[in-house]
């Protein structure tokens, strides 16, 4: 039973013991680091190969089409065909481009996408590194993406690319604040920044305890990854393809991989923070179910994001920034304040995670914040409609 509880830790131990039989100590470390590194790098690639197919199928169904259906059954090998096409394409560097920066940007953005996976807990003890600053690490790695996007946009020597980069700066910096605030709420409630421990202390999934934080995080994450309806940075009808318009071949592929790797990573972090991670029925008996639950929940989050993309029109840039500053930031600040107050009520020393009473209080506060936000938004919408003389005013 005890062996099963820490299944993955024990698996790793036996693996280390096995290769330790014929390798010196530094060799064991080297092999282990290499294995972890290769898994980290492979995650975004796997995500791209599976998610592009899923996205095209889902969007196709939403738009009343079939989606890819030529390569393999249900078109599941479409992504591989696309990958091969991308690999054999000519790699073009525009003559006016700033070469070093132009070449560095895709590496940086793909590296950041891979780095995010280091702190994602797939199961009990099945985490690259249970950093004591795990939640901050996620934010820190996310900020590297911003830099890479600016580098790509500037070095392309293209007006559309530079415009895309400018939009990215405004968008990512604005949406980072509600994202950090909602992560901070979870950190406050669990009392830890270790991603593994956040899951351990999440007795009830935080989506039902902190719905405001969940919604804020999901919207901010959609904006951070540049998904519709927040895809202004690559709005193809306005600024062609935004910051990576000049990229082709494998370098374009890196941006593509980073985009889908980030999408999967964001979904995985949402799962970790709000959906209880690898928790689920019978996990304590059969820990191998943990990663299975984890992937199922992540894919569900990704499906919701695709659903939003398929149904909502794109925001205008000023509307989008106003939404971040005037709606998301106040709502998540109020939520953070309420959480801090609730956690002070009846706090026991050495308490791990919230008690039942605290969770109910948190939920009440969250529902109140949601109601007030909805009320104010509805009133603003009616006023706006009345000003423009639209129907429904």
């Amino acid at each position: 039973m005890d062996y099963l509880r820490n299944f993955f830790v024990n698996l790793a131990r036996s693996w280390t013991a096995w290769i330790g039989g014929f390798l010196p100590d530094w060799g064991v470390n080297l092999v282990n680091y290499l294995v972890v590194g290769i898994i980290l790098v492979l995650m975004p690639v796997i995500a791209t190969l599976t998610l592009t197919w899923m996205e095209r199928k889902v969007i196709g169904r939403i738009q009343n089409r079939i989606g890819p259906n030529r390569v393999g059954p249900w078109g599941i090998f479409q992504a591989f065909a696309d990958a091969v096409k991308m690999l054999i394409k000519e790699d073009i560097v525009p003559s006016g481009a700033d070469k070093p920066v132009f070449n560095l940007a895709p590496i940086l953005i793909a590296g950041a996408a891979a780095l995010l996976w280091a702190v994602v807990p797939f199961g009990r003890g099945m985490i690259g590194q249970n950093l004591n600053i795990g939640a901050l690490y996620v934010v820190a790695v996310g900020s590297i993406t911003t830099i890479a996007v600016i580098m790509a946009g500037w070095s392309s020597n293209n007006k559309f690319a530079l415009l895309g980069a400018f939009r990215v700066v405004a968008q990512l910096l604005s949406y980072e604040i509600p994202m950090v605030l909602s992560i901070a709420t979870v950190v406050l409630v669990t009392g830890t920044m270790r991603m593994g421990d956040i899951v351990e202390r999440q007795v009830a999934p935080f989506i039902v305890v902190l719905p405001v934080a969940f919604i804020t995080y999901l919207l901010a994450a959609a904006a951070e990854t540049g998904r519709a309806p927040f895809d202004l940075l690559e709005a193809d009808s306005e600024i062609v393809a935004g910051y990576f318009v000049e990229y082709s071949g494998l370098k374009f592929g890196w941006f593509y991989i980073a985009e889908y790797g980030n999408l999967f990573a964001i979904a995985a972090i949402t799962t970790t923070l709000f959906l209880g991670g690898w928790r689920g029925p019978f996990v304590s008996v059969a820990p191998a179910l943990g990663p299975f639950y984890f992937v199922i929940k992540s894919v569900a989050v990704i499906f919701v994001l695709m659903w939003i993309r398929g149904t909502w029109p794109r925001f205008r840039i000023d509307q989008m920034l106003a939404f971040a500053w005037k709606v998301l930031v106040p709502a998540s600040l109020a939520n953070l304040l309420w959480s801090a107050i609730v956690l002070q009520i009846g706090r026991q020393p050495e308490q791990l995670g919230p008690t039942i009473v605290q969770m109910i209080l948190l939920l009440v506060g969250n529902v109140a914040i949601l109601a007030v936000t909805g009320l104010l938004l509805g009133r603003a919408a009616r006023r706006y409609a009345a000003q423009h003389g639209w129907a429904g005013a």
């Binding site: 820190a140 900020s143 911003t146 830099i147 500037w154 980069a165 400018f166 910096l173």
Partner: protein, 173 residues
């Protein structure tokens, strides 16, 4: 030891890059490299929280601001230390000469002071105290250092208002 030397050399090279690059964007990117190596050094001394803050504040905010301003105001070439067509001495105008002398003098003075003093090695284990962790920092920051903390937040507020007020376009009459 080996890692420290590697990171220190990268940091120094990046710092030299910051002040010799002709393109301001390169300067900003070298500055980013410098900050990133410093974050790595912080991790080596078990100050993980500081390393994360370093990356978030500098890479996520300060460098982005620098790049943004450089792109906004055109980002033309800095006719500066790395001027291409002139000899080294011709580029050494008197302010730069004084700057070079001052910088080198400071380096020599500090270096001499350090080397003549005794070399100190760490005896304590920071990890044993859990001092790199967020809890340890927060426990002190919100009790003993509450006043500096509040002052810092007021400073940030003033900075924010000042930046918004300064960057506003002038009103047209």
């Amino acid at each position: 030891m080996f890692l420290f030397v590697v990171f220190a050399l990268i940091a120094l090279a990046a710092a030299v890059g910051v002040i010799t690059s002709r393109k301001p964007v390169y300067s900003a990117l070298f500055l980013l490299l410098n900050f990133a190596t410093l974050a790595a050094l912080y991790i080596m001394v078990e100050a993980q929280f500081l390393a994360a803050v370093q990356i978030i504040v500098y890479a996520g905010a300060v460098i982005v601001l620098f790049l943004f301003v450089v792109m906004l105001i055109g980002g033309g070439e800095l006719d500066d230390i790395g001027g291409r067509n002139k000899k080294f001495l011709a580029r050494l105008t008197w302010p730069r000469g004084i700057a070079l002398v001052l910088g080198l003098g400071l380096l020599v003075a500090v270096g001499y002071g350090l080397l003549s003093g005794q070399l100190m090695t760490a005896t304590n284990d920071a990890a044993a105290f859990g001092q790199g962790s967020v809890q340890a920092i927060a426990a002190v920051l919100y009790t003993d250092y509450a006043l500096p903390f509040e002052l810092a937040s007021i400073l940030l507020l003033v900075g924010m208002i000042g930046a918004v007020a300064l960057a506003q376009p002038p009103k047209k009459d």
